[in-house]
Symmetry: C2
Subunit: 826 residues, 2 copies
Amino acid sequence: MGRITKQQKKQTDQDETATVPLAAVDAWWRAANYLSVGQIYLLDDPLLEHPLTVDDTKPRLLGHWGTTPGLNFIWAHLNKQIVERDADVIYLAGPGHGGPGVVANAWLDGTYSELFHHIPMDAKGMGRLFRQFSFPGGIPSHAAPETPGSINEGGELGYSLVHAYGAVLDNPGLIAACVVGDGEAETATLATSWHLNKFVNPVTDGTVLPILHLNGYKIANPTILARIPQDELAALFTGYGYSPRFVEGGFDGEDPMAVHERFAAVLATALDDIAEIREAAAAASADGSEVARPAWPMIVMRTPKGWTGPKEVDGLPVENTWRAHQVPLAGLRDNPEHLRQLQEWMESYRPHELFDEQGRPAAALDPNRPKGDRRMSANPHANGGLLLKALDLPPLDDLAIDVSEGRGTIAEPTRVLGKWLRDVMVANPDDFRLFGPDEVASNRLDAVYEVTDKEWEGEVLPVDEHLAPRGRVIEMLSENLAQGLLEGYLLTGRHGLFTSYEAFIHVVDSMFNQYAKWLESSAEVEWRRPVSSFTYLLSSHVWRQDHNGFSHQDPGFLDHVVNKQASVVRVYLPPDANTLLVTAEHCFATRDYVNVIVAGKQPGPTLLSLEEARAHGARGLSVWEWAGTEVEGLEPDVVIAAAGDIPTLEAMAAVQILAKEIPDLRIRFVNVVDLMRLQDEREHPHGLSSDAFDEVFTKDKPVIFAFHGYPSLIHRLTYRRTNHANIHVRGFKERGTTTTPFDMLMLNDLDRFRLVMDVVQRVPSLRVAYAGFSQRMEDERIAHRAYTRAHGEDPADVAGVAGLPFALELPDQPTEDDTGADNAPH
Amino acid sequence: MGRITKQQKKQTDQDETATVPLAAVDAWWRAANYLSVGQIYLLDDPLLEHPLTVDDTKPRLLGHWGTTPGLNFIWAHLNKQIVERDADVIYLAGPGHGGPGVVANAWLDGTYSELFHHIPMDAKGMGRLFRQFSFPGGIPSHAAPETPGSINEGGELGYSLVHAYGAVLDNPGLIAACVVGDGEAETATLATSWHLNKFVNPVTDGTVLPILHLNGYKIANPTILARIPQDELAALFTGYGYSPRFVEGGFDGEDPMAVHERFAAVLATALDDIAEIREAAAAASADGSEVARPAWPMIVMRTPKGWTGPKEVDGLPVENTWRAHQVPLAGLRDNPEHLRQLQEWMESYRPHELFDEQGRPAAALDPNRPKGDRRMSANPHANGGLLLKALDLPPLDDLAIDVSEGRGTIAEPTRVLGKWLRDVMVANPDDFRLFGPDEVASNRLDAVYEVTDKEWEGEVLPVDEHLAPRGRVIEMLSENLAQGLLEGYLLTGRHGLFTSYEAFIHVVDSMFNQYAKWLESSAEVEWRRPVSSFTYLLSSHVWRQDHNGFSHQDPGFLDHVVNKQASVVRVYLPPDANTLLVTAEHCFATRDYVNVIVAGKQPGPTLLSLEEARAHGARGLSVWEWAGTEVEGLEPDVVIAAAGDIPTLEAMAAVQILAKEIPDLRIRFVNVVDLMRLQDEREHPHGLSSDAFDEVFTKDKPVIFAFHGYPSLIHRLTYRRTNHANIHVRGFKERGTTTTPFDMLMLNDLDRFRLVMDVVQRVPSLRVAYAGFSQRMEDERIAHRAYTRAHGEDPADVAGVAGLPFALELPDQPTEDDTGADNAPH
């Protein structure tokens, strides 16, 4: 269903009843324009039954007109093609402030009234539709989660095209019609998104039809693409690998019907060409071969900004200038002439032809209205939760690292995870994907290549490995594109993972922001169904970027993430391979969250059995009796806590040193995998209750906390805790250089010796008695640094895993009741 | 000086002594390659005086070879052109991990030894050069601040081209040769950077010569641009507005001399064409006209990745594959064959021809070495502090808002600042620029257009305003480009300002990170001279984005910024127009910082006279006696503090309400303009001492803090303060929607009524006695919200500025000794 073949096309050509007359397209367009102007301006009298008065208009005019007529024009024409071809099309509005247009079309579709019962398809509904727009308690002026049919927020510009590409992956019947604004086309992400045509397969994926709208102007400037010659523009899109087609019209008062004719022809040809390309590819595929990367059609549409709006206001040109960007007519309260012009403008659409006396869309529009799910505002792909199937999650048991002979089996956590991702791909062959900026192998997830390849429609040479025109992995050197593709893929009801180097994930800070806001807003929209969570795997993290140097060392994404609402963000720092496995398993089963997992790729000891890891993951944080020196029934003298793989090992090493030197010191060892457990339960759904927190961290004992990221984050999360003043955090201090793993820890005072000195300093009974010991620790550090500088590597006793303390001299005390299931956050 | 004219070119053609033979270019290239391999592999025996042993090699092999021979090749050829033309050229190495190459060339130039005396130009120096590379205490594997001649960090990819464009602005004699890696070309920022050719003027700006290096592979994948047909590639760069030229060579064992010949010819032609374009433009300019936007040359160079390295290792192809990306030969300790191959590889460069017995570069290289400042590693543009002139800062007095008739004169702060920026441009006509993503006018800085225009080399239409081929403002809808241009402009010794909407500045989070790290590292590099600070002006901020809705509401950039070292970050929240003026004046005089200024553009009351604003700015935070209800000699009952323009007004309104209702309540009012004053002096150079802080905020009184951003930031900054537990912060709670200004405040509990309720709740003596009053406040809030929802605007008594409390019923008590100059941070 939904595939458009030439055969189908021919049928519709022959079937006169299915041809939509351009008059209906034009009526639709005029109706959508009328409704858009109404939303921007009117509080009342939606059908203009009386001469407009100031009281009929909004006190604050906050909408934007400029881009809207173009968006409506394209929507109207796509409707015609959908009706004629029974095409499966979603619509992405790239330009900012396109809200009135897409909402108008959704109301004309009938979808709006179906989803929002208080806004029926009549004059009352129209009045409410107008009133709610950019009004307190109403809807925003961009396409947004509140907008039926939208998977792209129009606030922060630049992501429409990458969202469109994410949507069509593994959706062979789908066409994502993506209106790219010529303003947004200047953004960094949009500029590189055009290259995504090298990553879609013409048989197994759907098709993106980009429509670059040369609207001419941004807020206060012309756009670059509107001011370069057409041959340059044609060369640019040919160079990006497309087959560009140009339509221009509506200037100097040209009759819109002429523009309709030209655009309809170009759009029909583009869709015919798409069908032909797909047919050829399908035929080749049936013969077991693949076609060369096709030059997919794209359309460049040049129309006046603010088309059909006031030509002139106060003697200055408005239509086709930057003055049409926002509200062409302002100051209605003080300017009766503007009020008159508004009335004239709205009447120019001949509303009596478009709406009946009850305010219902007139029959003239009907031929141009697709039915049911074919309506772009109702297309289920744009409310992906409707189509979502839970992932089939394969068992972890065979992949988990065995620690039955003793803790410490060496494993590379992400490599182990890679094997599970491989199994996930096998179990879910068409709705799970992995995205990354050239770092899937570097982050050691390459086991996935046992069962799939990297999608690549370009040339493949004999030396290449795992490149193929069909693959479940997409790698392009742009974090923005990996982020945007996964967003588009999730919002259309599928699952996936984005893996990146930790430091460079800040490239997508703003995209994360906007996606988190999308989820936060979606939660308030009743008809939006939950989608699979967005999960980041950040590896090649700060503590093992010693060799790459300062530019590669930044753990601050976590700080950024926790600014967003607690209802949508989750942060995990699994300390070993088995805990990483259970964390990923958990994250893939969640909905509507952003999960951030930080995990190492370097060989490290496996500390927990799979069962223990499950319990630890479910608890989120646990006391590890076996790693501490507590005595049952007695309060500890000090708590050593850790979050993050490397900090956990350093903290364990510190316990080991202390246990040798001060055997009767009672150390409680706490590991935190779910960072949000630290927060108060009133602030985050995963937060521990005050009592539970106090039970673990005590009410008054010193807590030395070894943390993966910037120390302030731990203070921030534990700010309301009883024992907060006693929590002393060591973490990244923004001290970086090109050095060795252990030297990086020393540089930031997160090494075992420093942690030991911290304990001596903070436990009052030790301060004086162990001053000499503390000095020895300091001497050790100096000696270590001198060795490192001389030899270029860490001394053997702290290097890599060799010096780590799990070759356990400490008693192993696995807790039996440590299932924690009833305590599990989600 | 430094302009290359055709005439000069002809002279050098005729002057045989200035022609550099290709043999010298090749010798230079081989020497640079030899030194690069040596850096990656060797600890000792730099001249291979004995057969290599394992002990001669580094224990950890952390360098990257793949991109290096290409970088060296281009450097060698640019040297030839510089010598022959006396050209003024800087070199930007875009590909990652190009460190060994650029360092090798700097050493061959002689610059390295001049700047680092412990690394002389002999065998001893060469040994140290090798050892320090990617070694603890040494230098990173990317071009970095430590690299002579570099203004571009090679760690996070994608910024080379925008840095190059920033560098050539207002540097008409300069050519920025920018090697763009085909990996980095996939990044978002790089993809849109090509369009910057529309913003450079051929007379008043210099020229960027992009050299796209089709090296073929990233870490684990081919690159897109290397795998599209050459006609597509040609179309792409034609479409971007360039005149592309192609050179390919070195494949299948081709003699490098043949490639030298081809590349030398293409490079010479490109430089000739640049000269010709500039000459024509200069001639037109002399006639008072401007040439049409030229199609500037760019070069596409396709050579094998890891060229001249091992062809095969362990039976697998390496040269010209992704396997050449990092170290082609690894595991030297366990593999004598690899060690042998390394020796063979290094000897293949015929080092005895390249270095004399003392290890000094041989005379064969001399013809290809430019002299003095013409050496690309020594070019002063790449150490911009050398060229920096302090800005001539015009007086503020005539622009400052007059409050002599009483506080509260209404002004739009950024509009007032715009007038000063105009004056700054007049006073500094060729080294100050303003960058923004289409928001200079929207942020109300448009007074600058009284004296300048927006630079625009595209078509200009009659309807356009302030567009011209020469202008001091550059606007393109990409925060990444505004950021990168200003970085390039500052690092070459000039001044500027980047203005953006607050929410979308997160788009450049990662670029900010990398620039802050650049400054942090530069501070450790003795020969790097201080550059002008990078100053952000964030307007259209979270509290006045009520109409644009949730996607436009995010104050989190401040949290991001304070993660970086205290030595480089400064954050200012001026509460009114006059304080904004003095803050900007201060920031423009600083060096080597990142200054972030958040200020509103909406009309608001001016609270301080210019003199008071100066004192307040110098103090960073002050008690405003006139805005509180303190009684001299008595401790206050409560402190109300505010940071940010809107929070300051709300806090003042709260004081006013309290003063009426509870006349004997002693309220201290504190305003914070320099946020880092809150931090402890041990953590930030601007931090207040503990005593000074306690004096202002008391040791034990409740503090109600109204903050512009996320509340956690205030807790974080005041974490070590005596009275920290009593600080109760109201700020943005990530609750946003499309609404009205006052409703936004209510939604986030930052409104005056909530602040009043907070005071009642926190001051023990009020809690019970004023419970009824508190309830009235709650009722007020409910009534306000109901009004807002009904009318679409705020009730008049809180809307805009009308309801604000500076129409002072409170006594105005200007402090006489409030100069604070000796207390001024910098």
